[in-house]
Symmetry: C2
Subunit: 530 residues, 2 copies
Amino acid sequence: MDAVASPPRPPLYIRMNERDNVAIVANDGGLPAGTVFADGLRLVEKVPQGHKVALVDLAAGEAVRRYDVVIGRAARAIPAGSWVHERLLEMPEARSLDGLPIATVRPPSLPPLEGYSFEGYRNADGSVGTRNILAITTTVQCVAGVVDFAVRRIKAELLPRFPNVDDVIGLEHSYGCGVAIDAPDAIVPIRTLRNITLNPNFGNEVMVVSLGCEKLQPERLLPPGSFTIVDERNVADVGESADAKLDVVCLQDEAHVGFMSMIDSIMATAEEHLERLDARRRQTVPASELVVGVQCGGSDAFSGVTANPAVGFCTDLLVRAGATVMFSEVTEVRDGIDQLTSRAVDAEVAAAMIREMAWYDDYLKRGSVDRSANTTPGNKKGGLSNIVEKAMGSIVKSGSAPISGVLAPGEKLRQRGLIYAATPASDFICGTLQLAAGMNLHVFTTGRGTPYGLAQVPVIKVATRSDLARRWHDLMDLNAGRIADGEATIEELGWELFRLMLEVASGRRTWAEQWKLHNALVLFNPAPVT
Amino acid sequence: MDAVASPPRPPLYIRMNERDNVAIVANDGGLPAGTVFADGLRLVEKVPQGHKVALVDLAAGEAVRRYDVVIGRAARAIPAGSWVHERLLEMPEARSLDGLPIATVRPPSLPPLEGYSFEGYRNADGSVGTRNILAITTTVQCVAGVVDFAVRRIKAELLPRFPNVDDVIGLEHSYGCGVAIDAPDAIVPIRTLRNITLNPNFGNEVMVVSLGCEKLQPERLLPPGSFTIVDERNVADVGESADAKLDVVCLQDEAHVGFMSMIDSIMATAEEHLERLDARRRQTVPASELVVGVQCGGSDAFSGVTANPAVGFCTDLLVRAGATVMFSEVTEVRDGIDQLTSRAVDAEVAAAMIREMAWYDDYLKRGSVDRSANTTPGNKKGGLSNIVEKAMGSIVKSGSAPISGVLAPGEKLRQRGLIYAATPASDFICGTLQLAAGMNLHVFTTGRGTPYGLAQVPVIKVATRSDLARRWHDLMDLNAGRIADGEATIEELGWELFRLMLEVASGRRTWAEQWKLHNALVLFNPAPVT
Ligand SMILES: [Ca+2]
Ligand SMILES: [Ca+2]
Ligand SMILES: [Ca+2]
Ligand SMILES: [Ca+2]
Ligand SMILES: [Ca+2]
């Protein structure tokens, strides 16, 4: 490999707010003891990259502030220039859900952003797809092996005849039977599966493979009237027809004699849907048709400094353009709940957020844990000392717009603007629930690095650090580390991401699509299995 | 299709015990009102196949007996010859876990069965594989897309050079991060994954793909000393070496530059393991090396009449041959707990069974349900009115041998004989937990029909009815419906299954293997996700 040596960068720390008494070290590889910053601060010990340095002498018990928030109390006296690692921080209690500020902030109204568009697939139900995919819904894990077999055959034998169709996928999952389907919490996985079936990228073409004896019967998964059925005889004849029948291949159907008869049924059914999908063409639609889900995973201290603020800026652009943006991950906003309730458009939205936080507090408590179970070894290695600090860096993805709606896990969007979609922070569960909400584009920020991808929607991955972006040059779609390097501003990166979104929504492939990296659908099932 | 008409069968009902006051209709398609049986009983209404008919007049509130057990009370007076469907049965309360009979039954000691063997792969740890598979362990769902990509390349480019290796698979799952890994119940999914890695069919070759920042670090999944590491330099030099290192490909390793460098690392690591696996040969081993997991799914009223009793007879043969048999599915034995505690070899084993039942009762209660959440629409359509009746038909898979041990979910076997491995009844979760216990052969009975299969072990599927076996002729490996047809006895079918097991263990492919039907590993995680 050839490499051109760059001149060493001057020592740099990044402070998020002028009231903060700690900052993080920006330089690759960290900085040694004795390093002197431009303002005269001298490191009394080595501080790794992304980790915190005390800007002033901190007394034992003193509040340690970052993002202008108390991320903990000093466990002992900490001299200026020291490494403030997680063992020196005592984590505060979770903010009580009583007495929160409700819709107190009137954010400066954001001027509309007009004239931006992308090339998308308009659907009969009014939504717009960014991809044109045949998705085969499954009611139960029992049919997964058969559907896999059929999908391989469809891709090899049918798909070449339908060049306008991007892909054929089975919507496989572990739910559907062997579960307490009448438990109160079973509504979460059931509506998640129902709503994923209706994701805009599947063109309102609904076909189902069922076993026959499973608990999650097709009519329970997709009750009559739950979606607009495209009439099977004629693509022009679209509408909510009372006579339209759910298109189900049932493996236990007595007409099936021999394994290949099941495969033949699935293929024949798929072919009808492929014909209609193949007749569709992209058309120019306003940027307001974007439905973006944002999340982070493999976070480090740069997540909240580079990638997430750029996403937050872009979130504001999207909201100004009339689009929909979902942010999620309950345990990563729990410690900033006061920021969210104050940004709610009204008391009802704030109450819905509090309801979701309270539900999750209780859910975690039933399992004898709390929100602090969120942080990972990688987070801590990356400089994030605790969930409070992680949350402050995560929440900035939501930008500054008013929060106009809240979704419980698995619910489908009913409105535009900035939406809080309550989900676990687990990358796969969050992504699966955002798919159910109706996401047509996914933005994922990462500091430690993850090859995350979904078969259902394009995923734009944003690196928080240039080192990661360099090493993972064919996995990361955008390098927000340039902000820490002083090569781009948050605003510039935000605009770059916005333009990249429009391109990807129009068909440009992401790296995860290039390599066909597909993670599993993982359902959130808070109810028991049987 | 040509078909030769068979003479219609005489009307037949099947009574399980002479004290029963109901029996099930055996004939295909059920029997119409007016049908008269050989003993003079006349049907007062149509009764579907597998459903119950009252053999005598039942008074309102009278105990309805099947398998010599009270499966419910008559909701109203039921005349002889009536269809006793689920709405006519009031389900009894679950048997209290106090005051159970403990180790009271001394089953007639079963004479040893000698001289049976199969051709298996002996492993360094003493276990025996029935297949020779390279399994790539993953710590976290994040790496699944990359591992899928690598496995496709390994199969296409490396596997043809190693003809003695049956398959290469990724052990993918939804666990590893975004989970409350320090919650008390997290021990279940973690030990499940650990023990699956050590399944006998993987030849003690352990290789791991890790992301790097995940909660389930490789050293936490497989702590030093948790398994016998095959020395990497020399296949002959096998043993527990303190210096041996866990063979991990970490995607976030700084040495990885570009996606293909990750794939190259995985392939190079896989090649070393493939070389050693390929050098192995099958050798004759006694039948006592079989470790059989039995379960049922898609059950009907015939499950407990044909397939499960045949499996139970075969279970006794296996125990007599010194082999290991696991039966499972907590909610399907809960109503027969008194039968199990009385068959326990000692008080300790009985106490362990009670502990597992109590744990599950509590787990279901936390989710506001009970054991009755088990039954499915298909069960009821197939004639099983409630969980008590289903359980009586399920429990017979355990045969008559003393129960010599109990495993909590995810634990690994430490002894031979008949073992109660406590698992949910969910087919995939049960199969996954039996894999973790060390199963090298899986037996699955089904009445409604399921194409169930696993990539990790061969699955022998046994049909409860001839109609299913005829239609699913290339999915069902054995037809126990011949028992109901009067063409074979339970003993004959049990012996047939025993011989089929030895053949399949020796390499004969099952139908699920023929079509490569693979269901997902589904972990039992009673702890919260974050
Ligand atoms: Ca996150
Ligand atoms: Ca996440
Ligand atoms: Ca190696
Ligand atoms: Ca069962
Ligand atoms: Ca089962």
